[in-house]
């Protein structure tokens, strides 16, 4: 039997059409609501605040589920507002190029002008101008009653295109005008900006500082929802971050998403598996429940890492034709996943991760001997790399230390 045939056959025996787990959540709100679980307390805080046009900050570690949370939150906001027969425009900007307030304003202007272009000549003109830049964007419009939800992701750069004559002066003033127009048309406008984690922390701070006026102008008709890490494993830095945000006084609600419980992750696994089943069930088959708990621990109870491991383990299991992922089969599958993982790393990163593990994690108080092993004079030389590894979940923060992902196998198996 060919590999693919065995793979398909195993999935069929498991009662699944495919391996449903994904590290990143589905962007489609309907699909997302099929797998989303938990965060009730946080939803109860955020929903009324946004409905009233207040600003909400959602923060948490990388992979903790901020994007899933806000997409689900916006979906609920859309449904519940539509059920009341009210109007609202909800804009979600998933990513945008640039690190400045000007870049943020342009990113907001693009979907806003596109939405209003049919009826407002100024919006049409702005949209035409912005289309002259070297950006690409994807847009999904979901209408529910009188509530429009627009999901936008912008790539490329704000470099001017080759055509001459593209001018957009006073971006901020234009944005305010279009927001006013949108407000006239929809009554309320909610703007969500996701993925601020991907920006340099200093740039995020500067952008927020510059955008203070914009964020304060809502007066109950406009609410902003921002997400980002905005927190640090280093208590001192984290506490100062808190104080600084309080001083800005921009957010009515600041919601910190904690790691999920094993039980919540178990439910998420059931939800994902049900998306690939003909008939929903409350089981985690082909996993044994104990194995799901074990994976949750390996994933440090971070949803993105949990989904990633589940996906990889299931693929390995399906390729190897295992009947069930249990105590007997899991160790070998786990080793294979770990081996695959380590092979994808560059030697420099592999070395760094093993040194981090050997020294019990890297911290700001790292000793000279460890730095010597790492081949650097100072830890700050490694900061950009560490932040990028953290973003890729190869390294995680715990009690002020940076520890390698559980996916990293024991060193002796990879000493070569």
């Amino acid at each position: 039997m060919s590999s693919i045939a065995r793979y398909r056959e195993t999935l069929r025996r498991w009662g699944l059409t495919d391996v449903p787990f994904r590290a990143t959540p589905p962007e489609d709100p309907a699909e997302l609501s099929r797998v989303f679980y938990g965060r009730q307390r946080e939803l109860e805080l955020a929903l009324p605040a946004l409905y009233e046009g207040r600003n909400v900050l959602v923060r948490g570690l990388w992979g903790v589920g901020k994007t899933a949370f806000i997409l689900y939150l916006l979906h609920r906001l859309q449904q519940e507002t539509a059920a009341l027969g009210e109007q609202m425009l909800i804009l979600y900007v998933g990513r945008f190029p640039g690190d400045s307030s000007e870049a943020l304003y342009r990113a907001l202007l693009l979907p806003l002008s596109e939405t209003l272009a049919d009826a407002e000549p100024e919006a049409r003109r702005v949209y035409d101008v912005l289309s002259g830049f070297q950006v690409t964007h994807s847009r999904q419009l979901q209408a529910e009653g009188k509530v429009d939800l627009q999901l936008v992701s912008i790539g490329g750069s704000w470099e001017q295109g080759k055509e001459e004559g593209w001018q957009l002066q006073n971006v901020y003033t234009v944005l305010l005008r279009l927001l006013d127009l949108a407000q006239e048309r929809y009554g309320k406008v909610i703007v969500a900006v996701d993925d601020l984690d991907k920006k340099v922390p200093r740039a995020v701070h500067d952008t927020l500082d510059d955008a203070t006026d914009l964020l304060r102008r809502g007066q109950g008709k406009r609410g902003f929802l921002l997400t980002g890490r905005f927190t640090s494993a280093w208590q001192i830095a984290s506490a100062l971050q808190d104080i600084s945000e309080q001083m800005l006084g921009l957010f009515s609600e600041k919601i910190t998403l904690p790691r999920m419980s094993t039980d919540e992750l178990h439910h998420i696994a059931v939800n994902y598996l049900n998306t690939a089943r003909e008939r929903p069930s409350g089981e985690v088959t082909p996993f044994k429940p104990e194995i799901v708990s074990q994976i949750a621990e390996h994933a440090d109870r971070i949803p993105r890492q949990f989904n990633l491991i589940c996906e990889k383990i299931m693929r390995q299991g399906a390729m190897n034709g295992v009947e069930q992922i249990d105590e007997r089969t899991f160790p070998a599958l786990w080793r294979k996943v770990q081996n695959e993982f380590v092979l994808e790393l560059t030697p420099a990163i592999r070395r760094l991760l093993y040194i981090a593990r050997r020294s019990g994690g890297l911290s700001a108080d790292v000793d000279d001997a460890t730095l010597e092993q790492l081949g650097v004079e100072t830890l700050v030389e490694l900061l950009p790399m560490l932040r990028s590894l953290e973003g890729d979940w190869l390294i995680r923060q715990e009690d002020g230390r940076l520890l390698p992902s559980a996916l990293l196998p024991d060193e002796e198996e990879h000493s070569g």
């Binding site: 701070h205 280093w234 001192i236 984290s238 100072t378």
Partner: protein, 364 residues
């Protein structure tokens, strides 16, 4: 009484005079010169400390090794401080014993001596020597605390080097000029911005020339470091960060630890001001580690004061007290009374915060 440090100045002057500008190790000597002059200026201004002495031993050791490798003679050999004749094969012969060294206690005499020499070279129409002497005069005036006159001398030195097309000397004089403006900005708070702006102009021009000439990376990095500091004081933080980061990267690559520690400290303070607290914490911790390794009491004290303030503001008074106490010890050893008073204020606040936290049963 002679200034105990003048012999170092004479030694490095001699070495630079001995080396041709085209010599492949000329810029290396220049970097050491710059470090030595800064060290001496600090020692004269704030008193000599164990840290300064350690750094000076390191710099003079490096100068000595350089002299030994190039000339076959150590700088500590007394005849080396005198004038020499170089024959066609490059062999040198010393024509006089060590010249009279005029110390800090007789700086007025030193200025007079330099002015006499200046007159002589002017009469002879030797512009190269005039430019070098004007730089020396600027340095002597700085030493005397007459910064305005120092500025005048450096400006003349810059003009002459520019006329001669001696770009390297022009940049060196510009750097001296820039650093003097920075000192003026520290002392004359009423005109701080104007002096900082003039300092930035001079340092920026020096960097442009150094970049065109492609001088040693460390020399360029040091000038960037100074311009970064200047921008920091002017409130031009993003530009300051960019320059200091460039300097830090070069210092780290060349394992120039004292410079690296100072760049990290400056950047740590900048990141704190720009509210990038995570970076600030890492940079200050790295600076502290390096200062400890260097045994730099002053560096440790300043860094611990910055960390202590940060911990106090973050409501971690116990950690703040530990950091601030070490800062205080350092300042006591250095007799920096003003800093001791400032740290004492912070310690009192930290102690009160700790008592409140204990009463409330909070243990941050």
């Amino acid at each position: 009484m002679d200034d105990p440090w003048s012999k170092y100045e004479s030694g490095q002057h001699w070495l630079l005079a001995w080396l041709d500008r085209d010599h492949p190790r000329y810029t290396e000597a220049l970097v050491l010169r710059q470090r030595l002059l800064e060290n001496l200026a600090r020692a004269r201004a704030y008193g000599d400390t164990e840290t300064s002495r350690v750094e000076r031993v390191e710099i003079t050791g490096a100068l000595d090794r350089l002299a030994l490798e190039i000339t076959g003679e150590s700088l500590s050999a007394s005849p080396l401080f005198g004038p020499f004749i170089r024959d066609a094969q490059g062999k040198i012969t010393f024509v006089k014993p060590k010249p009279i060294v005029i110390g800090v206690s007789d700086n007025t005499g030193r200025i007079e001596y330099l002015q006499q020499k200046l007159q002589t070279v002017r009469n002879a129409g030797d512009l190269t020597a005039e430019s070098a002497l004007l730089d020396d005069l600027g340095s002597a005036c700085e030493l005397q605390g007459d910064l305005q006159r120092a500025v005048e001398h450096y400006k003349l030195a810059v003009d002459i080097a520019h006329k001669l097309g001696d770009r390297q000397s022009e940049a060196i004089h510009l750097q001296s000029l820039g650093l003097t403006f920075m000192r003026l900005a520290e002392l004359k708070s009423g005109q701080q911005q104007s002096y900082l702006s003039q300092a930035a102009d001079a340092l920026r021009q020096a960097i442009e020339i150094f970049d065109v000439l492609g001088v040693a990376p460390l020399l360029r990095a040091r000038t960037r470091y100074h311009l970064g500091r200047c921008y920091h004081q002017s409130g031009r933080w993003p530009e300051a960060i960019a320059l200091l980061e460039q300097a830090r990267e070069v210092f780290a690559r060349h394992k120039a630890r004292p410079e690296l520690a100072h760049a990290l400290l400056e950047l740590g303070q900048l990141y704190y001001q720009t509210e990038d607290f995570e970076s600030a914490y890492f940079y200050l911790k790295d600076a502290l580690r390096l200062f400890r390794r260097l045994g730099d009491t002053d560096g440790i004290a300043v860094t611990q004061e910055a960390l202590g303030s940060m911990e106090l503001q973050a409501a971690h008074p116990s950690e703040a007290i530990v950091s601030l106490q070490e800062a205080r010890q350092g300042y006591v050893a250095l007799r920096r009374d003003e800093r001791i008073r400032a740290v004492d204020d912070l310690l009192r606040m930290a102690d009160r915060a700790r008592q409140v936290a204990e009463r409330m049963g909070v243990t941050p």
